[in-house]
Amino acid sequence: MKAWLKSGSPWIWLNGGAVAMCMIMVVGLIGLIAVRGFGHFWPANIAQIEITNEQGEQIVVMGEIVRSQTIPSAVARDAGNEVPEDIDMVTRYLVKQGNRDQTGRDFVWYLELGMGEFTYPLDAYQIERREWGNFYGQPVALLREGEIVSTPQQSGFWRDMQAALDRSLKLHQEIQRLERRQIGRINSGLEQLRLDTRRLDLRDVSGPEREAEDARIAAARAELDAQYEELRVELDALKAAQRRDTLQMVTAEGAQVDLSMAQIVRVTAPNGMSVPAKMGQYMERLWEFMSDNPREANTEGGIFPAIFGTVTMVFIMSIIVTPFGILAAIYLREYAKQGLMTRVIRISVYNLAGVPSIVYGVFGLGFFVYFLGGSLDRLFYEAALPTPTFGTPGLFWASLTLALLTLPIVIVSTEEGLARIPSTIRQGSLALGATKAETLWKVIVPLATPAMMTGLILAIARAAGEVAPLMLVGVVKLAPTLPVDGTFPFVHLERKIMHLGFHIYDVGFQSSNAEAARPLVYATALVLVMLIVVLNLTAISIRNRLRERYRNASD
């Protein structure tokens, strides 16, 4: 024992333990996110539980079992439950019983005390709605214009219901298209006319020119108003058509509820589904999550705008950061006189990579948004004032701030790549009579391209995961429009965007129904983590290959 202690081997084991801990933490964290994130889309079975409470009353609960927990009974008593004195531990189940519009509480903990068997009725439906979250219950009838057309006792009920739902979803799509595209176009047209008028006021145009312009604007406005009126009639008709079918359901408590097809997104009866069917359902939900707009204050639906916003922002950032970062690195390594000054600059640039990102956010808000943006507005968008165009956080400022933030990363990585190129190659090129520029652009830069790629990928990975500065310079919880669309000038740099990282923060911490939002947050986190892990692994593998290459070249 003493000899063993003296050999120092316990210390080695402790050090090894530290590594093991770190690895477990990394793998565990990614594993946790993956399991929770992927698990979200699996159609869980709907359990029906009969509970006899202390007063001997019997209640029936229906919903998904989210998780269970064994807790000391003292904790359960503190939470207001009655637990007999002789029990030390109780298990409790968190049941997602939905029906927020009926009971007000969609997630409820139930103690195992007095619980009967869990049953899984085949006709238990999980209905995703556009409002009020999920509905759980059993079907009673399908109504059309108030008349019963089908009941579950009839054989074709499921088919009829799905047909009605499909019809309603198609109508919904049509409504969405009209609202988003057509009405959006009319609104932007009207806004444009308002700005035209304002511009005339500002330029102090009067006389016949003014009259002509006013007449043009009035005509255009009348035209748009007419179009709007037409659309409104069309919309009203569509909405009326959508309200045709109603699904009559009964909750576990026995209350009968009429659900209009217009508010239903999806109906599933998971208890009767086979594993392949569930897989299909899983993929469908996953796809919907990736491609759909969020619903219900971001706690339901998809995250497409957030993905799109993140990608657009990172893309614009790359366009800005790449040339500047690379040129600055080339300057520092190839052109600047290597002296104290260059060393100071280099150290400063390296250190900027370690400056807290929030500081960049503060700078971006103050300098880019208020100072530059405010000046731009005064110069070019005077007509729109006092509503700011660029003088408010937006896509371009977010990209620019992140470009500044990631600039040191690109510079450091590129410089490293340039430093790795053996000087023999450089000297060879110069000895053959090439100018410095030719050596640089035809020999050095191509050789250093992988290093630049690494830098860029690392920059993108960093930018994609950064949230703190974006909260200040252009990311919002819900952007009404995407930053890229079909109206001129197609890329709208002044618009606010949604962002995956901010989405996580917002939905996880600012939403009113945290329990309902949680799986969605895990799924969003998973998307973000996968994006970043893939980017980083790419960067790491490029770098490793690069090292190998130069190890050979310098031999």
Partner: protein
């Protein structure tokens, strides 16, 4: 190659050489030269541009913070004679748009005049009864604009000036008017009809509306009257109910009398330098409470409330200025307490003019000097002699942009005022400050509130402490793991395992902190709260268990052990850690039942330890997670690059591997490890999202591991989007950013320099 060239030449000897001629070469050379210099200049320009842009961050943050340091500036604009000179001026006001001045005179006139030149715009006669003359005057808190004239027959006329703003032809037009909240009829305060010599009035509009008028009559009786008015819905007639009580007399000649806006306290200053405090919160029980010697022997010459009517500013004949307010002790008794002193004027203070929305005030004195002071920060922002004559009156506009001074020759001087950031000073940000309504001086960060009269509390101490606290616990968690891990990975681990560990740690570094924060806040925090014993037993017992396992491993037969070569210890420990972790979680509720009456969380509360769900421990673990890779990578690099011949020499001399690590590797690599720790610290200090999400963001000043904190960075993220651009709050957040920038920059630079030194040393070894 040569062949083709000769062939080509041979077949057409007369043709021109394929090589470019001199002119073409000249041209080519020029083009190449041009390209060369273009690329040189282009790249240099881009390089400078980038350096400039990055330097811009510093410059810009400084630029935004600079105005904090400036004091106030006063630019004289005009001087003219008061519009009404035949009567004594009681009160001067400058209205909100800074266009108009208002002069109250003791002949019962209210004169509205152009602030630029003194021309009369409009004049009102107050409804003073024929047989009475004005003997005293009082005004309510400035923002309320209510004034009262005490009359020679024991009556009081209460009025209020107000403005109608209209925009004919897009030009602002301000039309003054006078209102009479208690009707135009004078109200009888003194039933005996004696002249009122001193008067005070305060009106509450919000909540339980009411007014209190206090009066001292010529025969020294002190009367307190509560007034309520009710206007008839049909006729619009106002009926006034008044209720008067008489209080103990003031022994000396009174100078100034004030009633606070809560209608609870009455303060009377006298010529001997005493302030007498009366409790009038219930009129039927109104009583004299105490007298304090505020003047310390010199007479009080001016006294007024700061906005909010909590603090009294007292000026004496010697020119001393002090701030006083009621401080409540443990037994709920209020004591009028001297809070702070301001730079003395050196001449009798003649008038005070409090600001309308902040805790600042103007003070003028008998030497013609103007002082601009601020309560919370105890700053004197401006102090200068502006007049040869003694100044007797002052007024400041509601937006603090203009001021008006009156000297004893009836001359008014108007001046522009810039005084944007009086509440910030080094002392206000870093020292304990005694805020209104608090029992003691404290460090408080509370930047905004719903109330207009709110005293902003800008102490950076809670935020700095919070930042250090978060960084401390993060380092406590991260340092042992990262450094030990780095030593092991660099020195003991097999290359194969190392090839897996290093990229994993890099991935760990790249994980967005928003994800760490979200997991910490939504998963770890509730988990830890439910499994407190598991967390503690795991953290404490894990190293012990590792050692126990290692000991048993060393006792295993050699043939078995040799199957796992050296350098795989870490891999062997993984199942041990996992199973122990699972065991801890399983046993956790039972430990709670056995030792903590069923709930450790509750037990903490019972023994008096505050426990927040999102606390410093959670932040320590989550931020530790974010910091580990930073420390790990740099420390691993430092250990790994220790020259081989050193370690091999040590091993050859018979040292064990661990002795080599302790005796040779660590001393050589210690600067590198130190710089790694500094880098980690730098990262922990500036981290935003984790702290934002994993703590309650309450700015507390303590190091309790079970309480949260608010850090500089999280504070910026929370508050900056909601501040007004250019306000003091905005600038102090910029200051916080600048502090963060400077701090991390210094730490990182130091670390980088140490690292470069180390590299140079290695290459010399």
């Amino acid at each position: 190659m040569t062949e083709t060239v000769t062939g080509a030449l041979g077949s057409s000897g007369a043709r021109k050489s394929l090589l470019p001629d001199t002119a073409a070469r000249e041209k080519l050379r020029k083009r190449r030269d041009f390209k060369d210099s273009a690329s040189r200049w282009g790249i240099t320009a881009a390089g400078f541009g980038v350096v400039f842009a990055l330097a811009m961050i510093f410059v810009y943050l400084f630029y935004e913070v600079m105005p904090i340091l400036k004091g106030a500036s006063v630019t004289p604009q005009a001087t003219y004679t008061l519009p009404v000179t035949q009567a004594n001026t009681q009160h001067l006001v400058l209205e909100r748009y800074q266009e108009m001045g208002i002069q109250y005179t003791d002949n019962g006139q209210v004169t509205f005049f152009d602030a630029d030149n003194g021309q009369i715009r409009q004049q009102f006669d107050l409804p003073i009864p024929e047989d009475a003359t004005v003997t005293s005057f009082a005004n309510s808190e400035y923002i309320g604009s209510v004034t009262a004239q005490g009359l020679s027959n024991g009556q009081v006329v209460i009025s209020r000036h107000a403005f109608n703003i209209s925009f004919p032809d897009d030009q602002r037009l301000i039309t003054p008017r006078m209102e009479y909240p208690f009707g135009e009829a004078a109200i009888q305060i003194d039933e005996q009809g004696r002249a009122i010599k001193h008067l005070a009035i305060e009106t509450v509009i919000r909540g339980a509306a009411g007014s209190v008028v206090t009066a001292i009559t010529e025969d020294q009786r002190l009367l307190v009257t509560s007034l309520t008015s009710r206007s008839n819905m049909m006729t619009g007639e106002v009926t006034v109910n008044s209720n008067t009580v008489e209080l103990a007399r003031v022994p000396e000649a009174p100078v100034k009398m004030l009633v606070d806006k809560a209608l609870r306290s009455l303060f009377i200053a006298d010529a001997k330098g005493y302030i007498h405090y009366y409790d009038i919160s219930r009129l039927e029980n109104a009583r004299f409470v105490a007298s304090v010697n505020a003047g310390q022997g010199s007479a009080i010459t001016a006294m007024d409330f700061l906005v909010g009517t909590v603090s009294l500013i007292v000026g004496t004949e010697k020119g001393e200025l002090s701030q006083w307010f009621l401080v409540r002790d443990e037994s709920n008794n209020n004591h009028l307490t001297r809070i702070r002193d301001f730079n003395p004027h050196g001449a009798a203070i003649t008038a005070l003019a409090p600001e309308y929305t902040r805790k600042g005030f103007l003070a003028v004195d008998a030497k013609g000097q103007l002082g601009i002071h601020y309560g919370t920060s105890a700053r004197t922002l401006y102090f200068k002699q502006l007049s040869e004559q003694p100044l007797v009156g002052a007024a400041i506009s509601q937006v603090n942009g203009r001021l008006m001074l009156l000297d004893d020759q009836q001359q008014v001087s108007v001046a522009g005022l810039w005084n944007q950031h009086p509440q910030l000073s080094f002392a206000a940000m870093w020292n304990k400050v005694w805020y209104e309504g608090r029992a003691n001086p404290e460090y408080i960060w509370q930047s905004s509130s719903a109330s207009d009269e709110f005293e902003s509390k800008f102490s950076l101490v809670p935020l700095s402490i919070g930042t250090l606290k978060a960084a401390f616990y993060a380092m406590l968690f991260a340092m042992p793991l990262a450094i030990a891990g780095a030593i092991y990975t660099a020195y003991f681990m097999t290359p194969k395992l190392r090839g897996v560990v290093k990229p994993s740690i890099e991935i760990m570094e790249a994980l967005p902190t928003v994800i760490l924060g979200f997991l910490a806040g939504l998963w770890l925090a509730p988990f830890a709260e439910d499994h407190l014993p598991a967390i503690f037993s795991f953290l404490i017992l894990m190293p012990v268990l590792m050692l126990v396992f290692a000991y048993f491993w060393s006792k295993l037969p050699g043939s078995f052990r040799s199957r796992v070569p050296d350098g795989w210890e870490a891999a062997l420990l993984v199942p041990v850690i996992l199973s122990f972790g699972a065991f801890c979680i399983f046993i956790s509720p039972w430990i709670e039942v056995w030792f903590f009456n069923g709930s450790m969380r509750q037990w903490f509360t019972d023994v008096g330890v505050t426990y927040d769900q999102r606390n410093a421990m959670i932040v320590g673990i989550a931020m530790g997670f974010a910091v580990i890779p930073t420390i790990f990578s740099i420390a691993e690099d430092a250990v790994f690059t220790v020259p081989r011949h050193l370690t091999q020499g040590s091993l050859a001399l018979g040292a064990t591997r661990w002795q080599t690590v302790v005796g040779v590797v660590l001393p050589t690599a210690s600067p590198g490890i130190f710089s790694a720790v500094m880098m980690g610290f730098g990262r922990a200090v500036g981290e935003t999202m984790i702290v934002l999400m994993a703590t309650g963001n309450s700015p507390v000043v303590n190091f309790n591991i079970f309480e949260g904190m608010r850090t500089l960075s999280a504070n910026i993220a929370v508050e900056l989007p909601e501040t007004a651009v250019g306000s003091s709050h905005f600038r102090i957040l910029f200051l916080a950013a600048l502090v963060l920038l400077a701090l991390t920059f210094i730490v990182n630079t130091a670390a980088e320099i140490i690292r470069q030194r180390l590299r140079a040393r290695y290459s010399n070894l």
